[in-house]
Subunit: 189 residues, 2 copies
Protein backbone atom coordinates (compact mmCIF):
# COMPACT_ATOMS: atom_id res chain seq x y z
CA UNK A 1 0.00 0.00 0.00
CA UNK A 2 2.37 2.70 -1.17
CA UNK A 3 0.87 6.13 -1.57
CA UNK A 4 1.09 9.11 -3.90
CA UNK A 5 0.33 12.72 -2.96
CA UNK A 6 -1.92 14.81 -5.18
CA UNK A 7 -2.86 18.45 -5.19
CA UNK A 8 -6.20 19.22 -3.48
CA UNK A 9 -9.28 18.02 -5.38
CA UNK A 10 -12.92 17.05 -4.96
CA UNK A 11 -12.51 13.32 -4.48
CA UNK A 12 -15.27 12.16 -2.13
CA UNK A 13 -16.92 9.24 -3.96
CA UNK A 14 -19.45 7.92 -4.65
CA UNK A 15 -21.92 10.79 -4.46
CA UNK A 16 -25.65 11.06 -5.13
CA UNK A 17 -26.63 12.26 -8.62
CA UNK A 18 -29.88 14.09 -7.98
CA UNK A 19 -32.15 16.16 -10.18
CA UNK A 20 -32.92 19.44 -8.44
CA UNK A 21 -36.16 21.07 -9.57
CA UNK A 22 -36.88 24.75 -9.01
CA UNK A 23 -39.22 27.52 -10.09
CA UNK A 24 -39.56 31.29 -9.96
CA UNK A 25 -41.69 33.88 -11.74
CA UNK A 26 -43.49 31.25 -13.79
CA UNK A 27 -40.22 29.72 -15.00
CA UNK A 28 -39.32 26.20 -13.92
CA UNK A 29 -36.18 24.13 -14.44
CA UNK A 30 -34.25 21.04 -13.39
CA UNK A 31 -30.52 20.78 -12.67
CA UNK A 32 -28.31 17.77 -12.05
CA UNK A 33 -26.31 18.06 -8.84
CA UNK A 34 -23.69 15.75 -7.33
CA UNK A 35 -22.46 18.35 -4.84
CA UNK A 36 -25.43 17.49 -2.62
CA UNK A 37 -25.88 15.75 0.70
CA UNK A 38 -27.53 15.45 4.08
CA UNK A 39 -26.12 17.83 6.69
CA UNK A 40 -28.40 17.42 9.72
CA UNK A 41 -30.80 14.78 11.07
CA UNK A 42 -32.93 16.91 13.37
CA UNK A 43 -34.15 19.16 11.88
CA UNK A 44 -33.72 17.23 8.61
CA UNK A 45 -31.49 19.39 6.44
CA UNK A 46 -29.60 19.02 3.20
CA UNK A 47 -27.33 21.14 1.05
CA UNK A 48 -26.80 21.54 -2.67
CA UNK A 49 -23.95 23.50 -4.25
CA UNK A 50 -24.64 25.31 -7.52
CA UNK A 51 -22.50 27.60 -9.70
CA UNK A 52 -23.89 31.19 -9.72
CA UNK A 53 -23.86 31.18 -13.54
CA UNK A 54 -26.29 28.27 -13.74
CA UNK A 55 -29.85 29.18 -14.78
CA UNK A 56 -31.30 27.33 -11.77
CA UNK A 57 -29.17 29.35 -9.35
CA UNK A 58 -31.25 32.48 -9.84
CA UNK A 59 -34.54 30.54 -9.68
CA UNK A 60 -33.55 29.02 -6.34
CA UNK A 61 -32.20 32.29 -5.01
CA UNK A 62 -35.42 34.10 -5.95
CA UNK A 63 -37.82 31.48 -4.58
CA UNK A 64 -35.58 30.17 -1.76
CA UNK A 65 -37.05 26.74 -2.48
CA UNK A 66 -35.99 23.61 -4.39
CA UNK A 67 -36.80 19.92 -4.57
CA UNK A 68 -34.21 17.13 -4.60
CA UNK A 69 -35.41 14.27 -6.84
CA UNK A 70 -33.56 10.96 -6.48
CA UNK A 71 -32.59 9.41 -9.81
CA UNK A 72 -32.78 5.90 -11.18
CA UNK A 73 -31.25 3.85 -13.98
CA UNK A 74 -34.31 4.69 -16.12
CA UNK A 75 -33.59 8.38 -15.50
CA UNK A 76 -29.81 8.15 -16.11
CA UNK A 77 -29.86 9.61 -19.62
CA UNK A 78 -32.05 12.53 -18.51
CA UNK A 79 -29.90 13.02 -15.41
CA UNK A 80 -26.74 13.35 -17.48
CA UNK A 81 -28.42 15.50 -20.13
CA UNK A 82 -29.91 17.94 -17.59
CA UNK A 83 -26.40 18.36 -16.19
CA UNK A 84 -24.73 19.33 -19.46
CA UNK A 85 -27.51 21.49 -20.95
CA UNK A 86 -28.95 24.78 -19.68
CA UNK A 87 -32.56 25.71 -18.97
CA UNK A 88 -31.76 28.98 -20.75
CA UNK A 89 -31.57 27.06 -24.04
CA UNK A 90 -34.01 24.16 -23.54
CA UNK A 91 -37.29 23.24 -21.92
CA UNK A 92 -35.76 20.37 -19.97
CA UNK A 93 -39.18 18.84 -19.24
CA UNK A 94 -40.07 18.31 -22.87
CA UNK A 95 -36.47 17.41 -23.84
CA UNK A 96 -36.11 14.76 -21.14
CA UNK A 97 -39.72 13.59 -21.21
CA UNK A 98 -39.81 13.74 -17.42
CA UNK A 99 -43.19 14.62 -15.89
CA UNK A 100 -43.63 17.57 -13.52
CA UNK A 101 -46.05 17.16 -10.63
CA UNK A 102 -47.03 20.09 -8.41
CA UNK A 103 -45.03 20.63 -5.24
CA UNK A 104 -46.86 20.00 -1.96
CA UNK A 105 -45.15 22.39 0.49
CA UNK A 106 -43.04 24.24 -2.07
CA UNK A 107 -43.86 26.16 -5.24
CA UNK A 108 -41.60 24.14 -7.52
CA UNK A 109 -42.69 20.91 -9.20
CA UNK A 110 -41.14 17.54 -8.51
CA UNK A 111 -40.45 14.76 -11.01
CA UNK A 112 -43.12 12.03 -11.22
CA UNK A 113 -40.60 9.44 -12.42
CA UNK A 114 -38.43 9.94 -9.33
CA UNK A 115 -39.01 7.40 -6.53
CA UNK A 116 -38.50 10.10 -3.91
CA UNK A 117 -38.75 13.87 -4.00
CA UNK A 118 -37.43 15.93 -1.08
CA UNK A 119 -38.98 19.39 -0.83
CA UNK A 120 -36.61 21.94 0.70
CA UNK A 121 -36.73 25.53 1.90
CA UNK A 122 -33.45 27.45 1.79
CA UNK A 123 -32.27 28.73 5.14
CA UNK A 124 -29.02 30.35 4.02
CA UNK A 125 -26.69 30.67 1.05
CA UNK A 126 -22.91 30.44 1.45
CA UNK A 127 -20.61 31.69 -1.31
CA UNK A 128 -17.61 29.36 -1.32
CA UNK A 129 -15.89 30.15 -4.62
CA UNK A 130 -16.95 28.39 -7.84
CA UNK A 131 -20.12 27.25 -6.06
CA UNK A 132 -22.73 28.68 -3.72
CA UNK A 133 -23.98 26.26 -1.09
CA UNK A 134 -27.72 26.36 -0.47
CA UNK A 135 -28.31 25.21 3.09
CA UNK A 136 -31.90 24.04 3.34
CA UNK A 137 -34.45 22.43 5.61
CA UNK A 138 -36.54 19.52 4.35
CA UNK A 139 -40.22 20.51 4.57
CA UNK A 140 -41.88 17.52 2.86
CA UNK A 141 -41.05 14.17 1.25
CA UNK A 142 -43.01 12.73 -1.68
CA UNK A 143 -42.61 8.95 -2.04
CA UNK A 144 -43.56 6.62 -4.89
CA UNK A 145 -46.41 4.46 -3.59
CA UNK A 146 -45.57 1.42 -5.69
CA UNK A 147 -42.34 1.06 -3.65
CA UNK A 148 -44.24 0.82 -0.35
CA UNK A 149 -44.79 -2.75 0.85
CA UNK A 150 -48.54 -3.21 1.27
CA UNK A 151 -48.14 -5.55 4.27
CA UNK A 152 -45.29 -4.00 6.24
CA UNK A 153 -45.55 -0.41 5.01
CA UNK A 154 -41.78 -0.48 4.48
CA UNK A 155 -40.39 1.75 1.74
CA UNK A 156 -38.38 -0.50 -0.58
CA UNK A 157 -35.97 2.12 -1.88
CA UNK A 158 -33.53 -0.70 -2.75
CA UNK A 159 -35.96 -1.66 -5.54
CA UNK A 160 -35.95 1.81 -7.11
CA UNK A 161 -32.77 1.21 -9.12
CA UNK A 162 -31.01 4.28 -7.70
CA UNK A 163 -27.83 5.45 -9.39
CA UNK A 164 -24.81 7.23 -7.96
CA UNK A 165 -22.00 9.35 -9.35
CA UNK A 166 -18.37 8.42 -8.84
CA UNK A 167 -15.19 9.84 -10.36
CA UNK A 168 -16.88 11.20 -13.47
CA UNK A 169 -19.32 8.35 -14.19
CA UNK A 170 -22.76 7.08 -13.22
CA UNK A 171 -23.12 3.68 -11.56
CA UNK A 172 -25.88 1.26 -10.64
CA UNK A 173 -26.26 0.23 -7.02
CA UNK A 174 -24.60 -3.12 -6.37
CA UNK A 175 -25.62 -5.79 -3.87
CA UNK A 176 -26.31 -4.98 -0.25
CA UNK A 177 -23.39 -5.78 2.09
CA UNK A 178 -25.24 -5.32 5.36
CA UNK A 179 -27.53 -3.02 7.26
CA UNK A 180 -26.31 -0.34 9.68
CA UNK A 181 -25.09 -2.10 12.84
CA UNK A 182 -24.41 -5.46 11.16
CA UNK A 183 -20.87 -5.53 12.53
CA UNK A 184 -21.98 -5.62 16.16
CA UNK A 185 -24.90 -7.97 15.49
CA UNK A 186 -22.64 -10.40 13.65
CA UNK A 187 -19.66 -10.49 15.96
CA UNK A 188 -21.22 -9.36 19.21
CA UNK A 189 -18.34 -6.91 19.43
CA UNK B 1 -46.98 6.72 -10.35
CA UNK B 2 -49.20 7.65 -7.41
CA UNK B 3 -47.48 9.40 -4.57
CA UNK B 4 -47.59 9.50 -0.79
CA UNK B 5 -46.58 12.45 1.38
CA UNK B 6 -44.29 11.91 4.34
CA UNK B 7 -43.12 14.15 7.12
CA UNK B 8 -39.70 15.74 6.55
CA UNK B 9 -36.76 13.34 6.72
CA UNK B 10 -33.17 12.81 5.61
CA UNK B 11 -33.79 10.86 2.43
CA UNK B 12 -31.04 11.77 -0.03
CA UNK B 13 -29.62 8.42 -1.18
CA UNK B 14 -27.20 6.88 -1.87
CA UNK B 15 -24.54 8.69 0.18
CA UNK B 16 -20.83 8.11 0.70
CA UNK B 17 -19.88 6.11 3.81
CA UNK B 18 -16.51 7.53 4.73
CA UNK B 19 -14.19 7.00 7.65
CA UNK B 20 -13.16 10.37 9.06
CA UNK B 21 -9.87 10.32 10.95
CA UNK B 22 -8.91 13.03 13.43
CA UNK B 23 -6.43 13.79 16.17
CA UNK B 24 -5.87 16.26 18.98
CA UNK B 25 -3.63 16.38 22.06
CA UNK B 26 -2.06 13.01 21.27
CA UNK B 27 -5.47 11.32 20.95
CA UNK B 28 -6.54 9.99 17.59
CA UNK B 29 -9.81 8.48 16.40
CA UNK B 30 -11.89 7.46 13.40
CA UNK B 31 -15.60 8.08 12.86
CA UNK B 32 -17.97 6.81 10.19
CA UNK B 33 -19.85 9.61 8.44
CA UNK B 34 -22.57 9.48 5.78
CA UNK B 35 -23.57 13.13 6.25
CA UNK B 36 -20.60 14.12 4.09
CA UNK B 37 -20.15 15.56 0.62
CA UNK B 38 -18.42 17.88 -1.79
CA UNK B 39 -19.61 21.49 -1.57
CA UNK B 40 -17.27 23.44 -3.87
CA UNK B 41 -14.99 22.67 -6.83
CA UNK B 42 -12.68 25.67 -6.69
CA UNK B 43 -11.36 25.83 -4.06
CA UNK B 44 -12.02 22.12 -3.47
CA UNK B 45 -14.16 21.95 -0.35
CA UNK B 46 -16.18 19.33 1.47
CA UNK B 47 -18.35 19.14 4.53
CA UNK B 48 -18.98 16.55 7.20
CA UNK B 49 -21.74 16.73 9.81
CA UNK B 50 -21.04 15.28 13.27
CA UNK B 51 -23.10 15.19 16.47
CA UNK B 52 -21.50 17.34 19.21
CA UNK B 53 -21.63 14.40 21.63
CA UNK B 54 -19.39 12.26 19.43
CA UNK B 55 -15.83 11.80 20.69
CA UNK B 56 -14.41 12.86 17.31
CA UNK B 57 -16.33 16.16 17.40
CA UNK B 58 -14.06 17.62 20.08
CA UNK B 59 -10.91 16.31 18.38
CA UNK B 60 -11.88 17.99 15.10
CA UNK B 61 -13.00 21.17 16.84
CA UNK B 62 -9.69 21.38 18.74
CA UNK B 63 -7.41 20.64 15.78
CA UNK B 64 -9.65 22.14 13.05
CA UNK B 65 -8.43 19.32 10.81
CA UNK B 66 -9.73 15.94 9.66
CA UNK B 67 -9.14 13.41 6.88
CA UNK B 68 -11.91 11.80 4.82
CA UNK B 69 -10.95 8.20 3.98
CA UNK B 70 -12.99 6.50 1.25
CA UNK B 71 -14.15 3.02 2.19
CA UNK B 72 -14.23 -0.29 0.32
CA UNK B 73 -15.95 -3.65 0.57
CA UNK B 74 -12.93 -4.96 2.48
CA UNK B 75 -13.40 -2.10 4.97
CA UNK B 76 -17.19 -2.48 5.28
CA UNK B 77 -17.16 -4.29 8.62
CA UNK B 78 -14.76 -1.72 10.13
CA UNK B 79 -16.79 1.12 8.61
CA UNK B 80 -19.96 -0.08 10.26
CA UNK B 81 -18.27 -0.87 13.54
CA UNK B 82 -16.54 2.53 13.80
CA UNK B 83 -19.98 4.10 13.34
CA UNK B 84 -21.68 2.28 16.20
CA UNK B 85 -18.84 2.31 18.73
CA UNK B 86 -17.15 5.28 20.43
CA UNK B 87 -13.49 6.20 20.60
CA UNK B 88 -14.13 6.93 24.27
CA UNK B 89 -14.52 3.18 24.88
CA UNK B 90 -12.25 1.60 22.26
CA UNK B 91 -8.98 2.05 20.42
CA UNK B 92 -10.62 1.86 17.02
CA UNK B 93 -7.30 1.25 15.27
CA UNK B 94 -6.55 -1.97 17.13
CA UNK B 95 -10.21 -3.05 17.16
CA UNK B 96 -10.67 -2.62 13.39
CA UNK B 97 -7.12 -3.64 12.44
CA UNK B 98 -6.90 -0.61 10.15
CA UNK B 99 -3.44 0.91 9.77
CA UNK B 100 -2.74 4.58 10.54
CA UNK B 101 -0.28 6.41 8.31
CA UNK B 102 0.95 9.93 9.15
CA UNK B 103 -0.91 12.86 7.63
CA UNK B 104 0.97 14.87 5.00
CA UNK B 105 -0.52 18.38 5.33
CA UNK B 106 -2.58 17.69 8.45
CA UNK B 107 -1.74 16.41 11.91
CA UNK B 108 -4.19 13.50 11.86
CA UNK B 109 -3.35 10.09 10.41
CA UNK B 110 -5.08 8.60 7.40
CA UNK B 111 -6.02 4.95 6.85
CA UNK B 112 -3.53 2.92 4.79
CA UNK B 113 -6.24 0.49 3.63
CA UNK B 114 -8.28 3.35 2.12
CA UNK B 115 -7.78 3.88 -1.64
CA UNK B 116 -8.04 7.63 -1.20
CA UNK B 117 -7.55 9.93 1.78
CA UNK B 118 -8.67 13.56 1.56
CA UNK B 119 -6.89 15.85 4.03
CA UNK B 120 -9.06 18.78 5.11
CA UNK B 121 -8.68 21.97 7.11
CA UNK B 122 -11.84 23.29 8.77
CA UNK B 123 -12.84 26.77 7.68
CA UNK B 124 -16.02 27.14 9.73
CA UNK B 125 -18.41 25.19 11.93
CA UNK B 126 -22.18 25.59 11.60
CA UNK B 127 -24.47 24.39 14.39
CA UNK B 128 -27.62 23.10 12.68
CA UNK B 129 -29.37 21.13 15.43
CA UNK B 130 -28.54 17.48 16.08
CA UNK B 131 -25.39 17.94 13.99
CA UNK B 132 -22.62 20.48 13.53
CA UNK B 133 -21.46 20.91 9.94
CA UNK B 134 -17.69 21.22 9.53
CA UNK B 135 -17.06 23.22 6.35
CA UNK B 136 -13.55 22.45 5.18
CA UNK B 137 -11.03 23.03 2.44
CA UNK B 138 -9.16 20.09 0.92
CA UNK B 139 -5.44 20.64 1.44
CA UNK B 140 -4.03 17.34 0.14
CA UNK B 141 -5.10 14.04 -1.39
CA UNK B 142 -3.32 10.74 -0.72
CA UNK B 143 -3.95 8.10 -3.39
CA UNK B 144 -3.22 4.37 -3.41
CA UNK B 145 -0.48 3.84 -5.97
CA UNK B 146 -1.59 0.34 -6.99
CA UNK B 147 -4.76 1.89 -8.46
CA UNK B 148 -2.79 4.16 -10.79
CA UNK B 149 -2.43 2.81 -14.33
CA UNK B 150 1.31 2.62 -15.09
CA UNK B 151 0.83 3.48 -18.77
CA UNK B 152 -1.87 6.16 -18.71
CA UNK B 153 -1.40 7.46 -15.17
CA UNK B 154 -5.20 7.25 -14.78
CA UNK B 155 -6.52 6.62 -11.28
CA UNK B 156 -8.75 3.54 -11.50
CA UNK B 157 -11.01 4.32 -8.57
CA UNK B 158 -13.64 2.03 -10.13
CA UNK B 159 -11.36 -0.89 -9.19
CA UNK B 160 -11.19 0.08 -5.52
CA UNK B 161 -14.47 -1.63 -4.60
CA UNK B 162 -15.97 1.49 -3.06
CA UNK B 163 -19.13 1.14 -0.99
CA UNK B 164 -22.00 3.53 -0.45
CA UNK B 165 -24.71 3.98 2.16
CA UNK B 166 -28.38 4.00 1.22
CA UNK B 167 -31.51 3.95 3.38
CA UNK B 168 -29.84 2.27 6.34
CA UNK B 169 -27.60 -0.22 4.52
CA UNK B 170 -24.20 -0.49 2.84
CA UNK B 171 -24.01 -1.36 -0.87
CA UNK B 172 -21.37 -2.34 -3.39
CA UNK B 173 -20.95 -0.22 -6.50
CA UNK B 174 -22.78 -1.72 -9.45
CA UNK B 175 -21.88 -1.54 -13.14
CA UNK B 176 -21.02 1.73 -14.82
CA UNK B 177 -23.92 3.22 -16.82
CA UNK B 178 -21.96 5.91 -18.58
CA UNK B 179 -19.47 8.71 -18.09
CA UNK B 180 -20.45 12.35 -17.51
CA UNK B 181 -21.70 13.74 -20.83
CA UNK B 182 -22.63 10.35 -22.34
CA UNK B 183 -26.14 11.61 -23.15
CA UNK B 184 -24.93 14.28 -25.56
CA UNK B 185 -22.19 12.09 -27.04
CA UNK B 186 -24.61 9.26 -27.68
CA UNK B 187 -27.56 11.15 -29.08
CA UNK B 188 -25.97 14.37 -30.26
CA UNK B 189 -28.77 16.15 -28.40
Amino acid sequence: MSKQNWKPGTMINPLPAVLVTCASGGRTNMLTVAWAGTICTNPPMCSISVRPERFSHSLIKESMEFTVNLTTEQMAHATDWAGVRSGRDYDKWSETGLTPIPGVKVGCPSIAESPLAIECRVRSIMSLGSHDMFIAEVVNVVAEESLIDKETGAFMLERAGLINYSHGAYYRQGEQIGRFGFSVKKTGK
